[in-house]
Symmetry: C2
Subunit: 295 residues, 2 copies
C-alpha cells in the first residue's frame, strides 16, 4: 500500500468515526429535550441512506468522471428541525474546465480523490443557532485538507459567539499559533453575501489547501476541528433548547434562512463543485433549510 | 434626439404601460375571487416602491458603473400570494469581465443601456400555475430585445399548457413563422435544472439578442409577447382560482417552489447579471417564493 493510500484510508475512517460520534450526540440531545413548544414530540433519530455512483468510465453530463459514493444521515427531530450529516469518498477525472482551477489537477491529468464530512443543522428553535461544519481531504498530484465550522444564530448572543470562537481558537492554537487569526478571517471573507453586504452568521473558521508538508499534523488539526465542533456546538444547543419562542421569532428565523439559501446556491463553492461535477444532488442540497420565507 | 434615444424612450414607455395594465388586471382578479380557502381575505393591491441608484461615476463593488433606477410593484394577495412586477431603466459601464460576454459591449467600451419589465407570480392555490414574464431592450454598440414567458404549474394540466402555448404560438406566428419553434425550444433549453435533470415548468417562449435589422418589427413582437401574456395568464388563473385545495397539494406546492429557487439562484442569467453588476437586490430577489420547503 502506498503512503497516500494509507492516508486516504486513515482520513476516510476518521470522517466515518466523526459522523458516528456526531449522530450519536445529536440523538442524545433529541432525547434530552425537556421543555418548550416541541417537547411533546417524539425525539428524532437519523435515517441513513447510502449512495453509489455508477462506476462508469465515461464522463457524465458535467464532463467529469465521478466514481465512489457516500452515506447521507438525515434527522428531522424536535430540536434539530433538519440536520444532514454526509460523508463521501469519491474519485475520478475532472473535466478540463474544472481541473485548471484545482491545485495539482493539471499534473494529475484531472485525476482526483476526495473524502469528507459535511454537516448543516437547521433548528426548530429560533433561539438555537444553525450551524455548518465540513472537513475534507483532497488528492490530485498534491494532497491537502480543508474545512471549518461556522455558526449562524438567528438572534446573535454574545456569549454563544464567544464560546464558539474560544473553542475554535483553543483548537487552532494547539496546532499553530497563526491558524486562528488566518482561518477566522478566511471564514469571514468566505461566508459573506456581497449582494446583501452582510455576513452569513457570526463566523468561525475556514481553511483550504492545508498542506504544511507534515501530513500527520494537518490530519491531526482537521480531526481536532471536528472534535471541537462536537464539543462546543452541543453545549450551545443545550443551553437554549428548552426555552420557548414566539411566532415573531419563528417568522424571523424563516426569513433569515432565506439568506442561507441565497448563500449556498449563489456562492458556496462546495455546492457549485458538487453540482458541476455531477455529484449527488440529494446529498448536496441536504443543506437546504426545511422551511423558508421570502415575504 | 437621436434615433436610438427615441427608441429607448418608446421602449421604456411601453414597459411602463404594460406594467400598469398587468397590475390593474391582477388587482381585478384579486377582487373577483368568489370561493375557495382564501375568499374571506381582503383582496390584495399592489404596493409600489421606486428606487434610484446613486448617480456615482465610480464603479461599484462589482466593478461596473450603474446608474438609473426602477419601480417595484409588489402585491401580497388572496389569489396572488406574492407577485412582483418590476420595471427598470439603467445605464452605465460594464466591468471588463462582464463586457466581454455582452454583444457589442467591447465596441461601446462597456457602455450599456437597459430597460425592461420582469414579473414572477407565486399563487396561493397549488392549482393555479406560477408564471414568469420578462421583456427587455438592451443597447451597447448594438441594440436588441429579449424576453419571454413561461408557465410553472404545480400539477400540470394539459388544457392549460395547450392554452398557454397556443396563445404564444399565435403571437409568434403573427410576426415570423420561425419564431415559435425557435423560441419555444430556447425556453425549454434555458429553464432547465441540470442537477435535477428536469424542466422548471411546462415552458413557453424565450428569446434574446433579437435584432432583425427592423427595430420596429422587433419592438412590435416584444410588445405582443407582453399583450399575449396579459390575455392568456389571467384566463388560466380565473379558470382555477375558486377551487379548493388540500394540505397535501399545498405542501407539494411548497416543495416545487424549492426548484424555482434553485433555478433562479443557480442558473438564471438575469439574477446573476443583476447581482453581479450591483443591481437592486430587493428588486432582483422579488422573484423568490414567499414560502418554500425542502423537507
Amino acid at each position: 500500500m502506498s503512503e497516500w493510500d494509507t492516508r486516504k484510508e486513515q482520513a476516510s475512517t476518521w470522517f466515518k468515526t466523526l459522523r458516528n460520534d456526531i449522530c450519536a450526540e445529536f440523538e442524545a440531545i433529541e432525547a434530552e429535550l425537556a421543555d418548550g413548544p416541541k417537547a411533546d414530540q417524539k425525539p428524532g433519530i437519523f435515517e441513513r441512506t447510502d449512495w453509489q455512483r455508477d462506476n462508469i468510465d465515461e464522463p457524465n453530463e458535467s464532463g467529469s468522471i465521478l466514481k465512489g459514493g457516500g452515506e447521507m444521515s438525515l434527522m428531522r427531530g424536535r430540536v434539530f428541525e433538519k440536520v444532514g450529516v454526509n460523508i463521501s469518498e469519491v474519485h475520478g477525472i475532472f473535466a478540463d474546465e474544472f481541473a485548471s482551477r484545482v491545485p495539482g489537477a493539471d499534473e494529475s491529468k484531472g485525476a482526483f480523490w476526495a473524502a469528507g464530512i459535511s454537516l448543516v443543522a437547521h433548528m426548530q428553535s429560533p433561539l438555537v443557532p444553525a450551524v455548518h461544519m465540513n472537513t475534507r481531504m483532497i488528492v490530485t498530484s498534491k494532497g491537502w485538507f480543508g474545512g471549518g465550522a461556522d455558526l449562524t444564530p438567528i438572534f446573535p448572543d454574545d456569549e454563544d459567539t464567544r464560546t464558539f470562537h474560544d473553542a475554535l481558537k483553543e483548537c487552532c492554537d494547539s496546532h499553530d499559533h497563526s491558524y486562528y487569526e488566518k482561518h477566522k478571517e478566511w471564514c469571514d471573507r468566505y461566508f459573506f453575501l456581497p449582494h446583501r453586504n452582510e455576513a452569513r452568521g457570526v463566523g468561525g473558521i475556514f481553511y483550504d489547501y492545508l498542506d504544511s508538508e507534515n501530513w500527520a499534523d494537518d490530519f491531526a488539526y482537521t480531526q481536532d476541528v471536528g472534535k471541537t465542533f462536537l464539543s462546543v456546538y452541543p453545549e450551545i444547543v443545550r443551553k437554549h433548547m428548552n426555552r420557548s419562542w414566539s411566532d415573531e421569532e419563528r417568522d424571523y428565523q424563516l426569513v433569515r434562512r432565506g439568506r442561507y439559501v441565497e448563500y449556498n446556491l449563489l456562492y458556496d463553492r462546495g455546492t457549485q463543485f458538487g453540482l458541476k461535477t455531477g455529484g449527488n444532488t440529494d446529498a448536496i442540497l441536504m443543506s437546504m433549510p426545511p422551511e423558508v420565507k421570502w415575504p
